[in-house]
Symmetry: C2
Subunit: 542 residues, 2 copies
């Protein structure tokens, strides 16, 4: 039989083809588990029926303000119920959610409001001091809605022409939202916190958001009704799509405005939190909590971390504290995590140092990512799986962004040759697990030899007095570049630059050892990443 | 901003758009968990690396025989490793897998080989006695490959021109299979075992198979590395897509040629089976096992059942035996199960009879099914959610078939108005859970009143002497039709027709009570469903 027989009179129609979208997850949870707790925030408790109703009211209110398909709704919000509602209510109108990083400066926020042509800005009262100057700087003038979170009692003005709760009160609880016309329609816009040049606007679509949301559940083996603590900012890759994942399994969102140890331990103990995500700084906050802020955990809590490989000491301490740490990896362009250090049970039998070394690897593709490989950036040939040969980490699949908004050259460059070029350098181990060695721009080239700053940092982290460390290239007349280390010491600990360098000589080839060591607090980005571009400036001045 | 900005220069390309397919699940499992046990069959143990290699060898062997995109490969096989391999190896060539029901007669098998234009038939030696006459009857002459399962030591001839294992041994273990060109491409063909007329060929596509396979995991809350016992025939809706689901979570398939109590208890005890699926007959087989065939269960085992609502007594007995029963519902046209009786924890507190009544409802849509409703078949208006008003159960979404092969009129009728018409009649309860009341053709209309045969059967099942029961319409001059009951008594139990009718009068409105009761063994289809069309013939003769 020819392929034609399997195509003739077997077309897509509304009965057998619907656009993939994560929005239906909430509709289903509200239908099947209307009374289940969906959202906890301070004294606020909302069921799935209420969560869904509020999302529809938000969509209705936005529609009344003229928001529709292809419009941008920017939000400057903490991890609140309103922020969760925006993840549904905004796309329910056909509009695109643009979550802004609340830790950025007014200039970048203003740039984003202009570039994304935000029609509406919803701003938490706490961030009025950021929103107000950003609006002054922006040429574009969005409709401004204040979100005055009752749990927030700090300073901040109401600066908008509308109040969020007033709008919702007047809106239609039965608003007839509709799935996207096409699953390729944009659902959200996330500006990268680029260290050079203007931020790029990463566009996600409904198909990818649906698939990654389910991918979180399958890849992370999430059972029904998890209790998810919001330590990861939702403005960061839409909270790795967990605002959508949790609805698919009718779990409970525990909101959190600020990542503080006491609030985390209280949430875990009081609400039975099962899962949380965060950068390494969140683990440090938990582990360094003073005894009076700690509470016993009701069960083993799953902690998903990304941004930096978890060091052995942290893993051991987390396990001792009752957390199981899983290492994820991804980029804004890949909907957040799309790579997992998928744990092989046999590895748990290894000595802790070996197990930690295995867990430091970024790992393998998420189930919904079709391909992940380390390729020669010139030829796109895969590097040998030898754990040594470096190449660029590349992604291919349905959880890769639609592209950069209004930036065709950057989109073309990112997708050259049919792969998404991450800009991260890494190796592929014999078992296919990939491991990052550096960002392209973070590699140090000294006397013609490539030095992985991560490798040097790993050695520094193993020093008993070192709390945190970062290594960057320092221009050098003779060698081109040499490694320069920036070190944060543990409270009460002491070390000299000579001791640190001697330690490195014990653990690294000589050419990889830092020539200079600077003791300082490390500058971090709003998402907890160390700002190497600042360190590079500092290194030049050493 | 206009929608255009979110579309311009943001097109699909190989880096960000790949066809959805379940085939990549196996490739991933083999890459990430190469050593994990994938398949157990008698003394056979195969890792994921081996399973994947054999699937690629099968694809290579078929390609050498000329099989390619849009060709049909029919298989007449038991639940064996070869059958699992066919679920991957056949579509890896671009061909379509047509699993044939081994319990059908040669005429229907021959019809299927002709209608599906099978290019290849792979037949288990046990079914040579069925395949040989079917091939004689068929006008089409496929290439025949014998699958000579070493675990099978019964009678049966080798009838093909090729041997499965010999072909695989000569094939390419690194065969470069490719995802489908389009996710709408057909992946499998399943003939319905229609009770009237020619079977219809239900076509599944890669997109739907991918989504339902993941839907099984999310909806059924399957953790990583389940151990799945093959009590459900894989020729039945591709084993409800579980051949693909299990790879996505790198679980273990435990094959089983025949559903026998001892083999099931042994598999559960020896291999730590966590999940199995089956019609009610499988539950009866487990519960009626003699003591010497039973083994203690190592943990609570998840049992997914469909085809008929589990009666209270069976649920209680299954719980007592250590099984947790979940009730699913679907049709061949919906990839098997696409509706789940999603359990609300609060219901577990109810008295057993109430809980069983709730579990008897078919339930709510699977996560990947976009819509499920009970509609007036004429107007397509939803019936009120009152638990009383009957309508036709209809489906809409990505896990609804592509259509019927070479049968445009049936496809058009099935999809009229943008909904898939199931032909099942039911009601919608206040909480949105649907409950089947009957197949359209199984409804009994007596004196102008509709009688649900299921309701009468429920009453019969509650009688302490009744093992199984089925009720059909018997033509009646005065009433049009009256209910006629066919009853299987429990071993050693006794009852008269008068006692049974009196029992019904206590539990049902008078007009719903059977006028005739026949004690007999109930005729069942190859998939364990009671053959009501035969009972109708018998009823006419009463």
């Amino acid at each position: 039989m020819s392929q034609a027989s399997y195509e003739r009179d077997l077309d897509r129609n509304p009965a057998n083809h619907q656009p993939l979208t994560p929005l239906g997850f909430l509709e289903r949870a509200a239908a099947v588990f209307p009374e289940r707790m969906a959202v906890i925030h301070g004294p606020i408790r909302r069921s799935y029926a209420e969560f869904y109703e509020r999302a529809r009211r938000l969509a209705s209110a936005l529609a009344k303000l003229g928001v529709g398909r292809g419009d941008t709704v920017a939000v400057l919000m903490a991890n609140t119920p309103g922020m969760l509602e925006c993840h549904y209510g905004v796309p329910m109108t056909g509009a695109v959610l643009n979550t802004l990083n609340t830790r950025l400066d007014a200039g970048i926020i203003g740039f984003s409001l202009d570039h994304g042509e935000a029609k509406v800005l919803i701003t938490d009262r706490e961030f009025a001091k950021l929103a107000a100057p950003a609006l002054t700087l922006a040429r574009n003038r969005p409709i401004v809605i204040d979100y005055d979170d009752p749990v927030y009692d700090g300073p901040g003005d109401l600066i908008g022409e509308h109040d969020y709760e007033t709008l919702l009160a007047a809106a239609d609880p039965d608003f007839a939202w509709w799935p996207p016309q096409d699953e390729w329609d944009a659902i959200s816009l996330n500006y990268t916190s680029g260290t050079t040049g203007d931020p790029k606007g990463v566009v996600y679509h409904h198909r990818g958001a649906h698939l990654l949301a389910l991918g979180n559940i399958v890849t992370c083996a999430m059972a029904k009704h998890p209790v998810y603590l919001w330590t990861l900012p939702m403005f960061h890759c839409n909270g790795w799509c967990f605002p959508w994942s949790i609805s698919a399994v009718a779990g409970t969102h525990v909101c959190l405005r600020q990542v503080r140890a006491k609030a985390m331990f209280d949430a875990i103990a009081d609400h039975g939190v099962t899962h949380l995500c965060g950068a390494p700084i969140v683990m440090s906050t938990l582990l360094n909590a003073p005894p009076q802020e700690r509470r016993p955990l009701p069960h083993v809590v799953q902690f998903y971390t990304a941004a930096a490989p978890p060091p052995e000491a942290i893993l051991a301490a987390m396990a001792g504290a009752g957390f199981n740490v899983t290492h994820l990896y991804g980029l804004t362009e890949t909907y957040g995590p799309s790579v997992i250090n998928d744990w092989n049970e046999a590895w748990s039998e290894l000595p802790p140092a070996e197990a930690a070394a295995l867990k430091a690897r970024q790992g393998v593709r998420y189930v919904p990512l079709e391909a992940l490989d380390v390729l020669d950036p010139e030829t796109l040939a895969p590097v040998p799986a030898d754990g040594v040969t470096m190449g660029e980490v590349m992604f291919r699949g349905n959880v890769v962004m639609k592209g950069y908004l209004k930036n065709a050259p950057a989109t073309r460059a990112a997708f050259a040759g049919g792969w998404f070029h991450s800009g991260d350098l890494g190796v592929k181990h014999r078992d296919g697990y990939i491991q990052l060695k550096d960002r392209s721009k973070d590699i140090i080239i000294s006397g013609g030899e490539n030095i992985s700053s991560i490798e040097v940092e790993d050695a520094l982290y193993r020093h008993p007095s070192v709390q945190a460390a970062a290594v960057v290239a320092r221009p050098d007349e003779r060698w081109g570049e040499t490694p320069c280390a920036f070190v944060e010491l543990k409270p009460g600990a002491a070390a000299t630059a000579e001791e640190i360098i001697a330690w490195c000589r014990q653990h690294l080839a000589g050419f990889k050892c830092p020539r200079h060591v600077v003791f300082t607090e490390l500058p971090k980005t709003s998402t907890g990443k160390i700002q190497k571009f600042r360190l590079r400036d500092m290194a030049k001045a050493v």
